[in-house]
């Protein structure tokens, strides 16, 4: 039954992956890698616990590993906050939300999406990302404020890619 159980979560995994990765093809690659990993590790899943949260955790790990491999991991929170005082840009339209999300550090984007889009509780988000609830809250706070600044044009839309 494990395949059918896992398959039942594909549409929601695709929604989260699309928001996380942006590009549709890359998002489905992420889903495929997550499904393969989930099938390999299915025996580690504790029956009765939330399968969806477990799969989000796997997707988080796969995604972060991919970013590390591609050296696209955005600068960390501390450095990123220093960059906020760039030249002002025009306010973004709602349709530019996707672009604005790309400008958030990954850890803020993940929390914003798990809570705002996937409607996980803070405790579930904390378990999914394996960080304390306090960290979830500070990332949520920074992410929402940064998104607000981006959408209102008070922060520059900068593509934050680590240059190594």
């Amino acid at each position: 039954m494990e395949r059918a159980e896992i398959a039942a979560h594909i549409p929601r995994l695709r929604r989260y992956a699309r928001a996380l990765a942006g590009d549709a093809h890359r998002a489905d690659d992420l889903v495929q890698d997550t499904l393969e990993r989930a099938l390999t590790k299915f025996h580690l899943w504790r029956h009765g616990s939330d399968l969806r949260a477990w799969m989000f955790t796997i997707m988080h790990n796969v995604f972060v590993n991919q970013l590390k491999t591609r050296r696209e991991l955005p600068l960390d929170d501390a450095v990123e906050d220093g960059l906020q005082s760039g030249p002002q840009s025009d306010p973004l339209e709602l349709r530019d939300l996707d672009t604005a999300l790309r400008c958030l550090p990954v850890e803020q984007r993940e929390v914003l999406l798990l809570v705002g889009l996937e409607q996980l509780s803070y405790a579930e988000a904390s378990r999914t990302l394996n960080v304390p609830v306090g960290t979830v809250m500070s990332r949520l706070s920074r992410g929402r404020e940064r998104l607000r600044a981006l959408m209102s044009g008070t922060a520059a839309v900068t593509s934050l890619k680590a240059v190594k």
């Binding site: 489905d28 709602l94 889009l117 809250m137």
Partner: protein, 248 residues
């Protein structure tokens, strides 16, 4: 309210406060315009995220995702893509694939139907693309896409009401899925695919795909599969009614 924190405001926006705390926050917001503005903006952000990405839930799922299997070893992406083109998609998702074309056709139908059932039957908010309130439009649309006149059987006497339907990618083209639900929330789906082989008829066949029971048959140019998480006898009773209605 002296002990209000920003965390309370976030939790208020995300519906994660208990009733008493929520009332306290609402009382505070009445005279804190900055906090009220933050709450408004964050709510809009949540709504905008859902508006932007919820449509992904209704997109057909690419077959390659159903074909995901235990990786034997890591292949580079280009090799995966090239290999996937040569494979017959979807086979092997629920059980081992068969060898001959005849078996592939016969076995693929219940397996695909069971996968489609497993994916969409548990959906709470988006089980169908077009609801039963637009039944005429639904049937016309699916008939047009399959290039064959379809019917949505009436199963109210069996306790099942039509929820609606959706279009899915099949092995060789579009496939229709009608979903029904009984008073207890139990769902069954009728999966209808167009065959490109010689028209023929078969008797009912039964397949147990893990927990999902499937009765399937071929009727001329169409293959039908009725799937549900129920016992064989109950599903057969419904399948018989479906068959009779489609062949009056």
């Amino acid at each position: 309210m002296s002990n209000l924190t920003e965390t309370d405001l976030h939790a208020y926006v995300d519906g994660q406060l208990d009733d008493s705390r929520r009332v306290q926050v609402e009382a505070h917001l009445a005279h804190d315009t900055a906090a009220t503005e933050s709450v408004r903006v964050w709510r809009e952000q949540n709504e905008a995220l859902r508006a932007l990405y919820n449509p992904v839930l209704n997109e057909p799922v690419p077959q390659r995702l159903f074909a995901a299997r235990l990786p034997r070893r890591r292949w580079p992406y280009y090799a995966l893509a090239a290999g996937a083109l040569g494979l017959s998609f979807g086979l092997g998702w629920i059980s081992q694939s068969y060898r001959t074309d005849r078996f592939v056709e016969a076995a693929a139908l219940p397996r695909r139907a069971a996968v489609a059932y497993a994916v969409y039957a548990p959906e709470v908010r988006h089980p169908v693309e077009v609801g039963a309130d637009q039944q005429d439009h639904l049937v016309k649309w699916l008939s047009k896409r399959l290039g064959h006149e379809l019917k949505a059987p009436l199963l109210t006497q069996q306790g099942f009401d039509l929820v609606g339907g959706r279009l899915l990618p099949g092995g060789k083209g579009p496939v229709a899925q009608f979903m029904y639900q009984d008073a207890r929330g139990q769902r069954i789906t009728l999966y209808v695919s167009l065959r490109d082989a010689e028209p023929r008829d078969t008797a009912f066949r039964f397949s147990q795909e893990d927990k999902i029971a499937v009765f399937y048959w071929i009727d001329g140019n169409l293959g039908y599969a009725l799937s549900g998480e129920m016992d064989r006898a109950s599903l057969l009773a419904v399948a018989t009614v479906v068959y009779r209605q489609l062949n009056p």
